[in-house]
């Protein structure tokens, strides 16, 4: 009985040991499978050159406006922004019914103005007759007035002479002297009255000689008539051309200001690139790229569809109004190069310094304002030598798309920097090293 119990206990202990052995194997395989596999590099000595490469679009060097008689209604637009047109190509069409209506209205207006002119002419004739009569009467009044007043002055002069004679003849009688005085005053008054009456009569003659205001009305009506006639002629011309608005010169449509059904404004209907001026490549560069590119710098330009690269200079560089913290740059292309709307790429290489410790940017992490890398370290663990991840703060001296230069001290040329991992790793994690 006792040995039976012992046997069972021994079997139980053996089973336990076998179970532990099995668990040892299983746990090792699960553990190994769960460990992230990392690959590393050691820092290298490199030149950190900066290559600025950015895309842009070709824009016209200048633009020509296309205008049309204002007020016409657009029936259809045959072009889009970016379309290339040759001289004489149809840009848009005018609504012919509306045009007919406008022509009718113009003719009506011309008729009205014509009638107005006739009326003015008739009125002018009547007014002229009236004026002639008034002038004749004024002149007559003037003559009569002058004559009458001269007579009155002559009489006053005679009275004065008589009074003077009386004084001389009859001595210095008080009464006679008063009479002489009065006669002198009377002569002076008569002269003044005559001068005033003649002046008033003369003015009336002058008034009668003034030109008639109807003359300017007639002139204005005639000018209006000429304008209407011009407009009518223009409308007639458009009608003769079957309402077609053609391109005045070859180029690329850069902007359209109207839509179908709109009335033609008195400003430009659309803009066409001016092919007499060379095109420009317009690019937007970032704040970081701006560090390595300046006004007047030589850049390589690669246009889409062209196999050969061009060498050009940055002709304009200023803060972009449309892109926040961006800069707009313009590069004048050689004549007859590029078509507005086509894309182009500019590139510029700025040779940098040589740094002793350079790592790929993918191995560099940033948290807030702190840069750090994961370094593979070795330690003695329960499972023997094991690799683990250590977080090391670093200072980045320079960086491009391929390399980041790290300040010496935190790292050395033997440091194994983790560049990739099969799982996300963090400080202290045990990992496997893909050597």
């Amino acid at each position: 009985m006792k040995s039976q119990k012992m046997k069972k206990l021994l079997i139980g202990f053996a089973v336990f040991m076998v179970f532990m052995l099995a668990c040892t194997l299983v746990s090792k395989s699960i553990y190994a499978y769960s460990l992230p596999m990392v690959s590393t590099i050691v820092p290298e000595s490199k030149y950190v050159e900066h290559i600025v490469e950015t895309e842009g679009i070709i824009v016209a060097g200048g633009e020509k406006p296309v205008t049309c008689l204002p007020g016409l209604r657009i029936d259809s637009i045959q072009v889009h922004v970016g379309d290339r047109v040759e001289e004489g190509d149809v840009l848009f069409r005018i609504d012919m019914e509306d045009l007919e209506q406008l022509i009718g209205e113009k003719r009506e207006e011309i008729s009205k103005v014509s009638l107005n002119i006739d009326t003015i002419l008739e009125n002018q004739e009547i007014a002229q007759q009236k004026r002639d009569l008034e002038l004749a009467r004024a002149r007559e009044d003037y003559d009569i007035t002058a004559r009458l007043k001269d007579t009155e002055v002559g009489r006053a002069a005679e009275n004065y002479v008589q009074a003077e004679k009386d004084v001389q003849e009859n001595g210095g009688d008080e009464e006679l002297r008063d009479a002489l005085q009065s006669a002198a005053y009377g002569e002076a008054d008569a002269k003044a009255e005559r001068d005033e009456a003649v002046k008033q009569a003369g003015r009336r003659v002058e008034d009668a000689l003034l030109p008639d205001t109807a003359a300017s009305d007639l002139e204005m009506a005639r000018l209006e008539m000429a304008d209407l006639q011009d407009s009518l002629n223009a409308l007639q011309k458009i009608k003769e051309g079957e309402g077609v608005a053609a391109a005045p010169s070859g180029g690329v449509v850069t902007e359209i200001f109207i839509g179908v059904g709109d009335r033609v404004p008195d400003t430009a209907v659309l803009l066409i690139s001016d092919e007499s001026l060379p095109c420009q490549l317009k690019v937007t560069i970032t704040k970081d790229q701006k560090k390595y590119i300046s006004l007047g710098d030589q850049v390589s330009v690669k246009l889409v569809g062209k196999s050969k690269e061009l060498e050009a200079t940055i002709d304009y560089l200023a803060e972009s109004k449309s892109v926040p913290e961006g800069f707009a740059a313009l590069i004048n292309l050689p004549e007859n190069t590029g078509v507005p709307g086509v894309e182009g790429i500019i590139s510029r290489s700025e040779p940098g310094e040589k740094y002793k410790l350079c790592i790929p940017p993918t191995a560099l992490y940033k948290k807030d304002d702190r840069y750090y890398v994961y370094v593979l370290k070795e330690r003695e663990g329960i499972l023997g030598e094991e690799y683990y991840v250590e977080e090391v703060n670093v200072k980045v001296l320079d960086q491009n798309d391929n390399w980041a230069a790290i300040e010496e001290g935190a790292l050395d040329q033997e440091s194994r920097i983790i560049t990739s991992s099969t799982k996300e790793v963090s400080k202290g994690d045990v990992v496997r090293w893909e050597q």
Binding site: G12, F13, F16, T24, V26, S27, E380, I382
Partner: protein, 286 residues
């Protein structure tokens, strides 16, 4: 009335002993229940540990949300535990095998052959047995260093192989064999080796097995020797695994403790009867 009083006393003693028994077994029960609790439940109970003793630790014998996750993680995702488990097995088995090979013949010699100075030598053995590890630690360290055995399992196994305690325990078992029986065997023409193998070992097995059981329990739980002589964690025994576990992994620690307990329980149950006898022998007067 006397019968009732007797019954009452019997019940009282039973309850008292049950209470004492429960008190003794309570750490094991707490260990078992803790190993079945999840992290959050354990954190709730043990939060007092992390709050500078401002409150008391609470506990439930039956977990609110029982889980075997701790065991699953320990057994299937923690190879470190098994490295140390097999290290412990290697150390304990090596020590016990060595002790059987060295200590048992020594005890036989002390018990059977009365040579001049053997009593003094045995007394010296007993004195050595009484010396704690801390006393011999430095000298052991220096010797092991000279022998280039530091940071190897031999640094733990070899000193333990020559421990005097199993000699002392086995000695009691061998001394219980009547000398007349051995004399009769000699008269019958049995050689000394035959007498040792055929008579000594079977008759003194209680002392031997008690030495094995006590040795297993001692070396399964040893901490000072490996901490002193082993530098590489990969050589450590299981007894050093638990301090490696942080409080955040309390459930893991409880389950590891339970698993660690199992081999010791097996060995104890297997050798329980012999252990009692062996201890009795060790108390026998010469």
């Amino acid at each position: 009335m006397q019968k009732v009083w007797k019954l009452f006393m019997k019940g009282f003693i039973f309850c008292f002993l049950l209470l004492l028994g429960l008190t003794v077994i309570m750490p094991v029960l707490l260990l078992m229940s803790g190993s079945l609790m999840d992290t959050w439940e354990l954190k709730g109970y043990l939060s007092a540990v992390f709050t500078d003793g401002e409150s008391f630790i609470g506990w439930r014998l039956i977990p609110e949300f029982p889980t075997f996750a701790n065991y699953g993680k320990l057994l299937f995702e923690t190879p470190q535990f098994f490295v140390l488990f097999w290290n412990s097995m290697k150390l304990v088995c090596g020590i016990l095998a060595g002790q059987l090979f060295i200590a048992v013949p020594a005890a036989w010699a002390f018990a059977v052959y009365q040579v001049k100075g053997s009593r003094v030598l045995f007394a010296l053995y007993v004195v050595l047995m009484l010396l704690p590890f801390q006393v011999t630690m430095l000298s052991s360290y220096l010797i092991l260093n000279e022998l280039l055995l530091l940071n190897t399992h031999k640094a733990i196994i070899l000193p333990a192989v020559f421990s005097t305690f199993p000699v002392f325990l086995s000695y009691g078992g061998f001394r219980s064999i009547p000398p007349q029986l051995l004399e009769a065997a000699r008269i019958d023409g049995a050689g000394e080796l035959t007498i040792f193998l055929r008579l000594g070992l079977p008759l003194g097995k209680s002392g031997l097995l008690s030495a094995v059981v006590l040795g297993f329990l001692e070396y399964w739980n040893m901490m000072e020797q490996p901490m002193t002589f082993l530098e590489d964690k990969s050589l450590w025994p299981l007894s050093l695994y638990l301090p490696e576990i942080t409080w955040a992994q309390a459930g893991h620690a409880f389950s590891a403790s339970v698993i660690t307990l199992i081999p010791a329980v097996f060995v104890f149950v297997l050798g329980q009867d012999y252990l009692e006898q062996g201890i009795i022998y060790s108390g026998l007067k010469e």
